[in-house]
Amino acid sequence: MKISTKGRYGLRALIDLAMNSGEGCVSLSGISQRQDLSLNYLESIFASLKRAGIVIGIAGAQGGYVLAKPAEEITLRDIMTVLEGDMSVYDNLGERTSIRSFLNRNVWDVIDSSVDAVLTGTTLEDVLKDIEARHLSADCSEL
């Protein structure tokens, strides 16, 4: 039950973009340096995010990417659907026995909805605020 490399790197890169987009667009080489991710890989991830309407690419010497919508309008579900596809914990193996269809409904679907509640209930803005709050508490602990 693991999130793919694309899902892990893609979310990290997109959070980095959101954190650094105060002064216009963010270059992939900047994300690559800050996040220790390969530029090639970022290019392919951002092509998917662009196609899905999560980011917009800006051409030119000072080009890069910006979020296509405000961070509070992008949920984790929007992001993970692009990066991971279906986030369900199970594939439908065919309901050959009543035990299996019972467990699909009473266990696996229940786990899926608990994950979905986090994904739909958390926006990119929430993630940024959470990072800021943790930085603040880390700063305070150094005083």
Partner: protein, 144 residues
């Protein structure tokens, strides 16, 4: 983010054992035909469940498997962990040192995985075999 089929068959096998294993002990053969997987695969799965202390075997002509813990202490979470080792969607959730990134100590995405992981384990740890058995019997009677 898929569970292995091993975990799914393990839960199916455990529920089957809880529902149908009271009158008589069930063998691998009976469990595998009830779940409709090969006996070799079922044997592998029950070996892991036994190693995790969730089932035990009784030898003899009428031998077979029994649950080794009270039904309300066997949770879906315990069964998944017995099969997968852990239940985290990204390794860093259980061990930050599993991440090889240079920036792991200031990772900006780990907390998202921690939250998703908590949602999964809170749900899986709250579902007990007793509850599932009672609900299954209420819905299906004694049919598999």
């Amino acid at each position: 983010m898929k569970l292995s089929t091993k975990s799914r068959y393990a839960l199916e096998g455990m529920l089957y054992l809880a529902v149908f294993g009271n009158e008589k002990l069930l063998s691998i053969k009976e469990l595998s035909s009830g779940i409709q997987v090969s006996a070799a695969y079922m044997e592998q799965i029950f070996f892991s469940l036994k190693k995790a202390g969730l089932v035990s075997t009784i030898r003899g002509a009428k031998g077979g498997f029994v649950l080794n813990q009270p039904e309300d202490e066997i949770t879906v979470g315990k069964i998944i962990r017995a099969m997968e080792g852990n239940m985290v969607p990204v390794e860093c959730v259980s061990s930050l040192s599993a991440c090889k990134s240079k920036v792991r100590s200031s990772c900006i995405s780990r907390n998202v995985w921690v939250r998703i992981s908590a949602a999964i384990s809170d749900t899986a740890d709250s579902l007990t075999l007793r509850e599932l058995k009672e609900k299954y019997i209420a819905e299906n009677g004694g049919r598999s």
